[in-house]
Amino acid sequence: MGLKILTEHINVPGIETYETYRKMGGYRSVEKALKTMTPDEVVEEVKKSGLRGRGGAGFPTGMKWSFLAKPEGKPRYLVCNADESEPGTFKDRVLMEKIPHALIEGMITSSFALGARTSYIYIRGELMFVLRILEKAIAEAYANGMLGENILGSGYSLDLHVHPGGGAYICGEETALLESLEGKRGNPRNKPPFPAVWGLYGSPTVVNNVESIATVPWIVNNTGDEYAKIGVGRSTGTKLISAGGHLNKPGVYEIELGLPVEEFLYSDEYCGGIWKGRKFKAVVAGGSSVPILPAELFLKTAEGVPRVMTYESLSEGGFVSGTMLGSGGFIAMDDTTCVVRNTWNFARFYHHESCGQCSPCREGTGWMEKVLHRLEHGHGSMHDIDLLVSISKQIEGNTICPLGDAAAWPVASAVRHFREEFEWHVRNPQEATKPGAVFNKSEAVLA
């Protein structure tokens, strides 16, 4: 059994209540930080831990915290990004639903470290029932003196609010989230200025993912050095992976970073292998935005080195033969999966979710979707395949926010690794449009 930091008590009955959570050792970090540490000491521990943001980009959390501007006379804010809308990612939801107090404890300790007096949890609008769970837990925390004025007699006061989104994926992008929280249309902002200088209501703000924040209490309780011992190299600690797709045991797993991918995929402790005894075809390893990889390249790098679950190992090979750990949304696909159809589906998502501010993303996402629709439905041409790559290049890197890249990468990587399958759709339109039809490499060679 791997070490569990976030999910150790997830199956304890009643863990969603303050009483049980406290009995299992909860809120110790609040006591420790507020009574025996200075805010800077907490920041220092998080820096030492090497914790990297769990929202997708993997930016070191301690470093982000130390960039926070501290001008006189302006409040500072901590905002928790609980918008979790990336296809394939559903770990934050499970954490908040099962152990809401873990996030609240993290919010208190982290807010203390950053000097925030008001903090927000911005939660995906579709998760109204989780919002209710959180609100109940927050009320309990207030009742027990963990929130509000003068927490535990330390002189530190904090108010915590939960705010639902309106159902837009783009509001998970941190600056769109801030706009939305301010009551405006959720358009990403131009950067710089970054939220650390100009965030919520024009004040310095830190935006962190649910999982990042929920990890802070363990770091405060056990020191950053202890946390840094878990994992491999610059990928320290544990990570929640939402495993979905064609697996025997889909679910949310907490893994120690550095776990061999083979073990994660095939061992019974985790995914238990591909379902129905089928063959493993491809994987999207870190949420729908990251490049798709064929099974062989996922299990081993192009040089034949077995991959492990770390930021570095998964991105080995760059965009040519690697992918990214991203937000940990792991989507496994068996050999009945049509990559063209899957790519079209992702493209449809990004087309639907683009905010429409910048021209390459607004127009390009829709264009890619239309071309993919054509290919999938047997009306495509060979030249459409190159067109897709060309459109994705015109978007990539030229937009205001990373949604443009997120829309471009899945398309570009699918064509890079599964070009034959796209070509098969062009050559055999009648075959390819039959329900359930899938390209089969060996048969195609014969034909």
């Binding site: 837009a168 783009i170 249309r185 131009n190 087309h351 639907h352 979710e353 683009s354 905010c355 429409g356 501010q357 910048c358 021209s359 390459p360 607004r362 127009e363 390009g364 996402t365 829709g366 264009w367 239309k370 067109l387 060309s390 290049k393 015109q394 890197g397 030229n398 937009t399 205001i400």
Partner: protein
């Protein structure tokens, strides 16, 4: 002050100036195009992405190149920064791609569009676009909307630059929102109708880079290149209106009144609806003289001033710039 090198030309500007404005100080052909940025409108820019440039050195202190192309209209200069626009193949290639994106859903109905001849999108496509299209799908269309008796919104032509939204926000009261929907289904919202009561809403017509917002008192009256532009003014009683306009006339007939725009298509001073829509007689105005149109558009054909790099700024013009200047002369 910060000294930067833009397309091989050195220029010194105030700290905090954007790359685009530094380039405009140089002037001429090196200036990147801008479809959404608009100096008089706070917060504008960053959206259309046609002004992308390559920063090959971030600053004197940190001379590393920037990893991505940056939007020159919103990126402030740093002392010692080196920027490439026309010299960067990557920037020119990206611009071509973005022009294509702006055009795929555009109706290309220039022959029946009032904006033709003074349209920023026409100019942009002419300079940076390609002649064919790779887009085979149906184009997005919207119904025309009359937003009040004076302005028509033809959303199909809109490039979502948000300029009219900022104009309505910053010049008129009681406005609520501008863009509805998202992605390529975004549209300029009819909430804008609510502000039509306002004396300054007519300015959305002038800021619109394309023919999406047009003056209903001028619609289909004439092609802009047949009309004669003249600077004129009157004592306007509307608080906040400068009363300085351009009259577009044919013979004695005033067909259209607009604000005065500089060479980048930016309004110098906003005007009120009374000046724009109600004062259509020569006798309403005191004529100041002919209007020089310094932009590369069809209307400028007879009054065309070549884009010239400010000579006092650059005594020794680099060879590639001289070349393009000379080509233009021919």
């Amino acid at each position: 002050m910060a000294k930067i090198t833009f397309d091989g030309i050195e220029v010194e500007v105030e700290d905090g100036t954007t790359i685009l404005n530094a380039a405009r100080k140089i002037g001429g052909n090196v200036v990147p195009p801008a479809m959404c940025y608009y100096t008089p409108l706070k917060g504008s820019g960053g959206k259309c992405r046609v002004c992308l440039v390559k920063v090959t050195a971030g600053s004197a202190k940190d001379p590393r190149p920037m990893p991505k192309l940056v939007a020159s209209c919103i990126t402030p200069v740093q002392d010692g920064m080196v920027v490439e626009n026309t010299l960067s193949e990557q920037a020119m290639e990206a611009r071509k791609g973005i022009v294509e994106m702006l055009l795929i859903n555009h109706p290309l109905d220039c022959p029946v569009c009032d904006q033709a001849g003074e349209c920023d999108l026409q100019n942009l496509s002419y300079e940076h676009g390609t002649s064919g299209t790779r887009y085979e799908e149906d184009r997005r269309t919207f119904d025309k909307i009359d937003i009040g008796p004076l302005i028509q919104l033809h959303m199909t032509r809109c490039i979502l630059c948000y300029r009219c939204v900022y104009t309505a926000d910053q010049l008129t009261e009681k406005r609520v929102h501008g863009v509805l929907g998202r992605g390529d289904a975004s549209e300029i919202g009819t909430y804008i109708e609510n502000s039509l009561e306002n004396e300054f809403i007519g300015n959305v017509i002038d800021v619109c880079p394309v023919g999406a917002l047009t003056d209903k008192t001028f619609r289909f009256k004439n092609r802009v290149w047949f009309t004669k532009p003249m600077d004129a003014h009157r004592e306007c009683e509307t608080p906040g209106c400068c009363g300085k306009v351009v009259l577009w006339s044919r013979g004695e007939e005033v067909l259209r009144v607009t604000a005065r725009k500089n060479e980048y298509g930016e309004v110098e001073e906003f005007i009120c609806n009374t000046c724009r829509f109600d004062k259509k007689e020569m006798s309403d105005w005191i004529i100041d003289g002919p209007r020089h149109i310094a932009r590369a558009s069809v209307i400028a054909a007879n009054h065309y001033e070549l884009p010239v790099i400010n000579p006092h700024l650059v005594p020794d013009l680099p060879a590639h710039v001289v070349d393009t200047q000379i080509q233009d002369q021919n």
